[in-house]
Symmetry: C2
Subunit: 190 residues, 2 copies
């Protein structure tokens, strides 16, 4: 998606440790017009495949999932990262390691929100080592729902998540795949 | 907002400890059509007041803020609840007590995303004791931006947050105000 590539080049900031900061438009401040275009693109990529629910994970996936859901006219379910009083005991749980936070955490979805008749599209802002996406895929499997695919805004192609999850047969479509960020210079996979 | 009242009565679940679960349509599973109507209502309530940015807090405020932002055609900024590698050191910080999680946490917004020339609308799904909203208001004040008001989907009117924050002169508009939930029966403030 050329628009998103251009924006990453213009406003993305490469920091030490293979960190790409896109907080000025994607996941801290949100350019809502860009989100609309991303939602349209996910619609183009996944339309006609019977998707009836979008699954994401808090926090930064939620906005993108909602704007995409407006296009598909389907509900969003977001996995929660903490056990709160507001969650029923009856949940699907998967354990995810976060490199950003340096620890394991459980993600949870109440069982009543996913069922074997659902056709799920997973939406998230980032794919790097793939831990969050693997957790969401695990929850879809536990529920017996059909996983149609995963729509990702930005994939770090030089990390293992994309290859690993595509190797499992999941239809992962990333709007931008970064091939390398060496010396602060971003190059894309074509 | 009658549509939201009707939905709270139909699908809201009252649990012990003054907990209202609206996870089937508002903040775990999201009815995106309902979100659109809520966004329209916030537009009606706050239009013509020069709002150029919407501020919310992760996680469950983000979706509502984004759908509302589509109406206003303005960016969203969401306060983050944890210090991660992806945040710059240069942030506004406020400390918030969460009754849901039973602990204090810091919320943060990078300074570059709020400025004295901004006219801010805060959006959140819930207002109860008001701790999260007070934290967001504190951050707006630190930045020198103008706070136009706060749009809330559901306010628990029998808890102190709404009165406290309106008493500070903040224009809080809640689409639904719950007067009581005694014995599991929800009544609204008219």
């Amino acid at each position: 998606m050329q628009l998103l590539k251009d924006r990453v080049l213009k406003d993305g900031i490469v920091k030490e440790g293979d960190i790409l900061k896109v907080g000025s438009f994607l996941n801290h401040q949100i350019d809502i017009g860009l989100y609309e275009k991303i939602g349209e693109e996910f619609m183009r990529l996944f339309s006609g495949r019977g998707i009836n629910k979008i699954l994401t994970i808090e926090a930064s996936g939620i906005g993108l999932a909602c704007v995409t859901a407006l296009r598909f006219s389907v509900p969003v379910v977001f996995a929660k990262k903490s056990q709160t009083k507001n969650l029923d005991g009856d949940t699907y749980v998967s354990t995810v390691y976060s490199y950003t936070h340096g620890k394991n955490y459980d993600i949870r979805v109440e069982k009543k929100f996913l069922s074997p008749s659902d056709n799920i599209l997973i939406i998230d802002d980032f794919l790097a080592k793939g831990k969050a996406l693997l957790g969401l895929i695990d929850i879809v499997k536990q529920s017996g729902a059909t996983l149609v695919g995963a729509g990702i805004a930005i994939e770090k192609g030089f990390q293992e998540g994309g290859a690993l999850i595509r190797g499992m047969g999941v239809d992962v479509k990333s709007l931008v795949i970064i091939e390398s960020m060496e010396d602060g210079k971003i190059t894309f996979r074509e």
